[in-house]
């Protein structure tokens, strides 16, 4: 009976487009695994649509060429050359934009929230768990991934839940691939440091029995962890130096006698962050927690981006002075009791006005598909449209260090491309086709199959 594409049947060009897609997607079946070969086997040209490049404006009646998994050419339809043997798809009436990037999800770490055995969200045995790697729990065949990507989300950060101060390390994924290895574009790309008050699992005033039960306890524990890591690093440096010295003195037939320090996975995991080689995602909500968290990070010269800050409106100038990007919100976070109804809705606009680079995240697994709605809604409260789109594309790519490959429609970048029947940020826009690394993603998932099964009855 009714299909999501019902609206589009009104336009003949759209019909043509869908029919073409129908033919070319027949051979691929649904699952996280799109194809066993990671390489696009023939060039595809999308011609006639409105291209939102993100980095160099809008091209009406444009064309984009996807070849060998990359964007090979882009421009006005009249000036783009079609490679020989390429499949040309008429996308007249459609809007084409880069795959969206969700800057915090739990994709692959959960299936059914209420069913414990399907959850690998956070290890709660201790607050300091930097040696947890989301990449090692990531479930590539999760039914949630095809649901998310059908709305144009092609890349995401997978983060552990925020129960621990240091819950473990993130992964940066692509939402299609032959297996987990292929989908995990970057393992351990960043690490959350949560200081929102929610990590006080032992709180209870005089009744608390286990350290840490307060913010000062959490801060002390965190500080000790980084001090231990510094100490650990020194021991290893010392050992390496002695070993090198011994090697130099080899001809004298003398051994250094130095034994390697015992490996400590927790402390080892902190080293790249202590060295400023990787990014800490520093989460706080209100001004006090924010400033405590920032001083802790500065104490150890950590490289960081901010996360949430949903209730830090009184110190936005301070936030701007830090000159770091902010993963903002979600803007659906409830305002505090004394705040105006739109205090959090308008936060992205307030940050943007102060020159802060913002990105959005769904902070979700099941609702990743709704990422663009949030960006759209933020524009209703003052965020310029282009910035809203950037916040789920190029800005996110820059924050995660992949702007050379993702986040815009530019030649040389990975061909993660979305074809939709309208404005990407509007809640009622329907995505018609998603390309990941130039390959058509099967536009089906468990929900589509249920819909079709029960539509027949």
């Amino acid at each position: 009976m009714m299909r999501p594409s019902a609206i589009s049947y009104q336009l003949s060009s759209r019909c043509r487009f869908l029919a073409l897609l129908g033919m070319t997607t027949l051979f691929v079946t649904g699952s996280a695994v799109a194809q066993d070969k990671p390489v696009q086997d023939k060039a595809i040209v999308l011609r006639g649509g409105k291209l939102l490049t993100v980095t160099h404006g809008v091209i009406e009646n444009g064309a984009i060429v996807m070849q060998d998994g990359k964007i090979a050419a882009i421009g006005p339809a009249s000036s783009v050359n079609v490679p020989s043997g390429a499949q040309v798809i008429d996308v007249t009436g459609m809007t084409i934009y880069p795959g969206l990037i969700d800057s915090e999800t739990q994709l692959g770490l959960t299936e059914i929230s209420g069913e414990e055995m399907t959850n690998d969200l956070v290890e709660m045995s201790d607050e300091i768990m930097p040696h947890m790697h989301t990449a090692e729990a990531f479930h590539a065949e999760s039914a949630l991934i095809p649901v998310a990507r059908m709305n144009g989300v092609t890349n995401a950060v997978v983060a552990p839940e925020s129960g621990d101060t240091l819950p473990g390390q993130d992964s940066f994924i692509q939402l299609a691939g032959a297996n987990a290895t292929e989908m995990l574009l970057i393992r351990d790309n960043a690490m959350p440091l949560n200081f929102t008050g929610d990590q006080r699992r032992n709180k209870g005033g005089f009744g608390a029995r286990k350290f840490p039960s307060t913010r000062m306890g959490l801060a002390a524990q965190l500080r000790q962890a980084f001090l231990d890591a510094q100490d650990y690093k020194m021991k290893w440096t010392d050992y390496e130096r002695k070993k090198a010295d011994a090697a130099q003195n080899k001809d004298k037939d003398k051994k250094s006698g130095a034994l390697p320090p015992k490996r400590d996975l927790k402390l080892e995991a902190l080293l790249p962050y202590l060295d400023g080689k990787k990014t800490i995602v520093l989460a706080a909500e209100g001004p006090s927690d924010l400033q405590t968290a920032v001083s802790l990070a500065n104490e150890f010269k950590l490289k960081f981006v901010l996360n949430h800050i949903s209730h830090s409106q009184p110190v936005l100038d301070y936030v701007a002075s830090l000159k770091v990007p902010v993963i903002v919100g979600p803007i659906y976070e409830a305002p505090k009791e004394d705040e105006r109804y739109d205090a959090v809705y308008s936060l992205p606009a307030q940050l943007y006005k102060r020159g802060v680079k913002i990105v959005f995240a769904s902070y979700s697994a099941h609702n990743v598909r709704n990422l663009p709605d949030q960006a759209g809604f933020a524009t209703a409260f003052g965020l310029p449209y282009e910035e809203a789109l950037k916040a789920i594309t190029i800005n996110a790519a820059e924050v995660w260090g992949v702007a050379d490959q993702l986040g815009s429609l530019d030649v040389g970048k990975t061909a993660n491309v979305v074809v939709a029947n309208g404005d990407p940020l509007d809640v009622k826009t329907d995505v018609k086709q998603v390309f990941i690394a130039g390959r058509e993603v099967p536009m089906t998932n468990r929900q589509v199959r249920l819909r079709d099964e029960y539509s027949k009855k």
């Binding site: 009976m1 009714m2 299909r3 999501p4 019902a6 609206i7 299936e111 059914i112 929230s113 209420g114 069913e115 949630l144 659906y332 409830a334 305002p335 009791e337 105006r340 109804y341 739109d342 697994a365 099941h366 609702n367 598909r369 709704n370 709605d373 759209g376 809604f377 524009t379 209703a380 409260f381 940020l425 509007d426 809640v427 009622k428 826009t429 329907d430 929900q447 589509v448 249920l450 819909r451 029960y454 539509s455």
Partner: protein, 466 residues
């Protein structure tokens, strides 16, 4: 008041106005206008209004007089009879008195120019647990029909204001789903800042919350109590209804004796729990059932038939699309989510096409929030029905206005822009069925309760520090 009367009033509104502007008091002016027209049209409703108006001297219980208001130049989305582009709505005595491209209103009426803006009925949220200060579940027994949510109603909860700012004007505050039979709901209007009793929807029908599935069995099963399975759930529910039947018989027999003049008849002991269930069996309380799986929907339908009561709506109802025909046959509405899924096992088969698929089979569909968050942007949730299944604009809008109003039992008074209905209206700065439309003003009973342009909270009846 039924549809027919609304229609009559629409005709009536088209009559030329006879201005009687001898006084600056809009109340008195109004009364004269109404009496003239009442004579002409013999309109029962207006006579009633007149009587009430005279009695109350056009005053609300807070003493504030209603003002005539005209909203002009708006794109009026009526829900029941399409859109009026560049339309006007005339509000008299808190009710919608006229809708059209032009309306005849007294010159004294306050004019709100809504040029380029959209006007919709206030949103009705048919499943909410806000303003209860966490007293949502009396989870000490699986059968608690005598819990009255009104007793927990926290009228100062800011969640009422935040929903109001999102365009919600009426909510059904339900008991939670811990119990197979929970408490009785309270219907509120989001008049944030008004005294408690003014926020209660006047003469709203009674609703009771039933539940099923995972929640009751989890709550009691984890305590090694009955129920811990779905068969336990239904056994507990059936047992309670059987006891209610006995109780009802005892009272019926007593009342019969009294009627016959039996002076020796002594009344049975009153039992609040069974009294409430007896009212369910008598059809005096509407049954709202928290339910996920389609098999359980069929069991609930069978149980309702077994005991002779009607089910008003299935709430959540994420698998309604699997049994939509049976729901339509039994005139059972659904209050569902647009696209929530996967949060528990019984939500695993949820699909975002549920609303439209069920609607096309003839089921009355409402999109509800069940959430302090989503109630603030139900317009966006309704817009998803356009995307998932191609609902028309009217169909989508109906899912957050007229259909939930039917579920609550107040569709004759709110849920559309029709003459005679309460003037619960939202002026949106942009198209409401999108990511972008935001309420600028929200009116309830003709009074502005939220105005985005105001500083502070943007509320008009609330003062800081109160």
């Amino acid at each position: 008041m039924g549809r027919d009367l609304c229609f009559e009033l629409t005709l009536f509104a088209a009559f030329p106005t006879i201005p009687v502007l001898s006084t600056t008091s809009s109340g008195v002016t109004l009364m004269r206008l109404i009496s003239l027209r009442t004579l002409v049209l013999h309109c029962v409703w207006l006579t009633t209004t007149l009587a009430l108006a005279s009695a109350a001297a056009f005053g609300q219980s807070d003493g504030a007089a209603h003002h005539d208001v005209v909203i002009k130049n708006a794109i009026v989305m009526t829900v029941t009879h399409g859109n009026v582009t560049n339309g006007s709505v005339y509000i008299r005595d808190g009710k919608i008195a006229a809708v059209g491209e032009t309306v005849n209103a007294p010159a004294s009426a306050t004019v709100i120019d809504a040029a380029g803006k959209y006007l919709t009925p206030g949103i009705v949220d048919s499943h909410s647990h806000i303003a209860l200060d966490d007293d949502v579940n009396e989870a000490t027994s699986p059968i608690t029909p005598h819990m009255m949510m009104k007793d927990a109603f926290d009228y100062q909860d800011k969640a009422i204001y935040r929903a109001l700012a999102g365009g919600v004007t009426t909510s059904l505050l339900l008991h939670g789903s811990a119990n197979m039979i929970g408490g009785q709901a309270v219907v509120i209007k989001h008049k944030y800042g008004a005294p408690r009793d003014e926020m209660l929807f006047p003469n709203a029908p009674r609703s009771i919350k039933f539940a099923s599935g995972e929640n009751p069995k989890r709550v009691y099963g984890s305590r090694d109590q009955l129920p811990s399975t779905r068969m336990g759930n239904f056994a507990v529910q059936r047992q309670a209804l059987v006891e209610a039947q006995d109780y009802m018989r005892e009272w019926d027999s007593y009342n019969e004796k009294v009627k016959r003049g039996d002076k020796d008849a002594s009344p049975p002991k009153r039992d609040l729990k069974l009294e409430a269930l007896a009212d369910v069996l008598r059809g005096k309380i509407m049954v709202q059932i928290h339910i996920y799986r389609s098999d359980e929907m069929l069991t609930e339908i069978a149980m309702a038939k077994e005991f002779g009561y009607k089910i008003r709506a299935f709430h959540h109802a994420l698998e309604a699309y699997k049994v939509a025909d049976q729901l339509a046959e039994n005139n059972i509405a659904i209050a569902t989510f647009a696209d929530w899924w996967g949060y528990k096992q019984e939500a695993w088969d949820a699909i975002p096409w549920n609303a439209t698929m069920s609607m096309r089979k003839g089921v009355r569909v409402a999109i509800k929030s069940d959430s302090e968050d989503y109630t603030r942007r139900l317009n966006q949730e309704a817009a998803k029905a356009i995307r998932y299944g191609g609902a028309t604009e009217d169909e989508a809008l109906k899912m957050i206005t007229l259909n939930p109003a039917w579920i609550v039992g107040v569709d004759d008074r709110v849920g559309s822009i029709d003459v005679g209905k309460d003037a619960d209206l939202v002026i949106w700065d942009g198209y409401p069925l999108s990511s972008y439309g935001v309420p600028e003003k929200v009116l309830i009973d003709g009074d502005v309760y939220f105005d985005r342009s105001q500083p502070g909270l943007g509320t008009t009846h609330y003062k800081e520090g109160e």
